[in-house]
Subunit: 152 residues, 2 copies
DNA sequence: ATACAAGTTCAAGTTAACTTGAGGTCAACA
DNA sequence: TGTTGACCTCAAGTTAACTTGAACTTGTAT
C-alpha cells in the first residue's frame, strides 16, 4: 500500500482476484474509477474492492455490465427505483426457477431413469416452477441481436 | 399437425417461441433431433417441446448448451450422477447469492442513499450471502478463454 | 404445369465480456 | 546512469449462442 487506503492496480488485482486487464476494461466502461496515477500506473481507492464485489454479484445474478453501470449512477431517483424493484421481481422469478431445477437435479442424481433429465419425477419437480411461461420465460438472459422481434 | 404427434419446424417454432434458426442450430449441436423430413422440411416429434423447455430452463440456470447436452446423454451412470449432484450444489450457492441480491434490491428501491447500490443497509444485506468468496465466486458464469489460470 | 411461400444449406456476421499481442514508458533498484 | 520488470495504450482476437444473407429446393395451391 503506497498510502493508507490507496492501492495500485496490481494490489487491486491481487485483492479482487481479477486480472489487471479486466480492471482496465471496467474503468473504460465506467464501472470503476482510478483516483490517480503513479507514473503510468493506475492508483485506486481501496473502496474499489467493494465496488468490484458488487459488480461480481450483479454479474452472477445475470445482469449485464451495462445494466450494472446504470445501477451505480445517481441520476433520477424516480425511474431508478422502479427499475430496481423490477429487477428484484425478475430475480424472484429466476430464484423460483432455479430452485425447481435444483430440486430436480437432486432427484435425478439418485434416480433410475436412463436419461436423467427425462425421468417423470424430475419433470414433475420442474413443472412446479414452470407455472408461467417456461420457455422463453426471460427476455434474452444476455440478449443476442434483434432489438425486440415481433415476438412477445 | 401433419400426423398425430408430429410437428414440422414452423409448428415447433410457434409452440416453443423459438425461431426456426435456433431449432436448426440446436439440432446441429445435438440438443434436439428431427425425426424425419417432408421434402426438405424437418419434422419433429412433439416431445421435442419438453426437451426445449428443459433446455430453456437449464440456460436460465446459467448452464451452457454444451453442459446441457452432456446432461441429456445416457452414457456412464456413475460419473454422471456425481456431476448432477455437483450442479445442484452450484445452483444452491447461486440461489443464495441471488436471494441476498434480491433482498438488497428490494430495500434499495425504497431507501435514501444517493447511489442505491452503496447504501449501508444494502451492503449488509448482501454480506449475508457473501460469507464465502464474494468475488470470483463462480468459475466463469459463461467463461471467457483461459482454461484455468493460476487463480484458485 | 407453374408459381411461390417457406423451407434448406453454408458461410459469414453480431454481441458481450474479456484477453492477447506489439510496441512504448517509467519508477525504482543496482 | 543504466537496466528492467511492471504497467500503459490501442488494435485485434476469442467464445458462446445465435442471426443474417445468398443461393437453392419443394410441397402445395392455382
Amino acid at each position: 500500500m503506497i498510502q493508507k487506503g490507496i492501492l495500485d492496480i496490481a494490489e487491486v488485482a491481487k485483492a479482487s482476484g481479477l486480472p489487471a486487464s479486466t480492471l482496465r476494461f471496467y474503468e473504460e466502461k465506467g464501472l470503476i474509477e482510478s483516483i490517480g496515477r503513479n507514473g503510468l500506473r493506475r492508483l485506486f481507492d481501496s473502496s474499489v474492492l467493494q465496488r468490484l464485489a458488487l459488480i461480481s454479484l450483479g454479474r452472477s445474478a445475470g445482469f449485464s455490465l451495462d445494466e450494472i453501470a446504470t445501477m451505480f449512477t445517481t441520476d433520477g431517483p424516480r425511474i431508478d427505483r422502479a427499475l430496481l424493484s423490477a429487477k428484484a421481481d425478475e430475480l424472484d422469478a429466476k430464484i423460483h426457477r432455479l430452485t425447481a431445477l435444483r430440486n430436480g437435479l437432486r432427484h435425478a442424481a439418485a434416480c433410475q431413469a436412463p436419461s436423467h433429465l427425462e425421468c417423470p419425477k424430475f419433470q414433475r419437480l420442474l413443472r412446479m416452477a414452470g407455472k408461467k411461461r417456461l420457455i422463453r420465460a426471460d427476455k434474452r438472459e444476455r440478449g443476442p441481436l434483434k432489438p425486440a422481434a415481433a415476438n412477445e
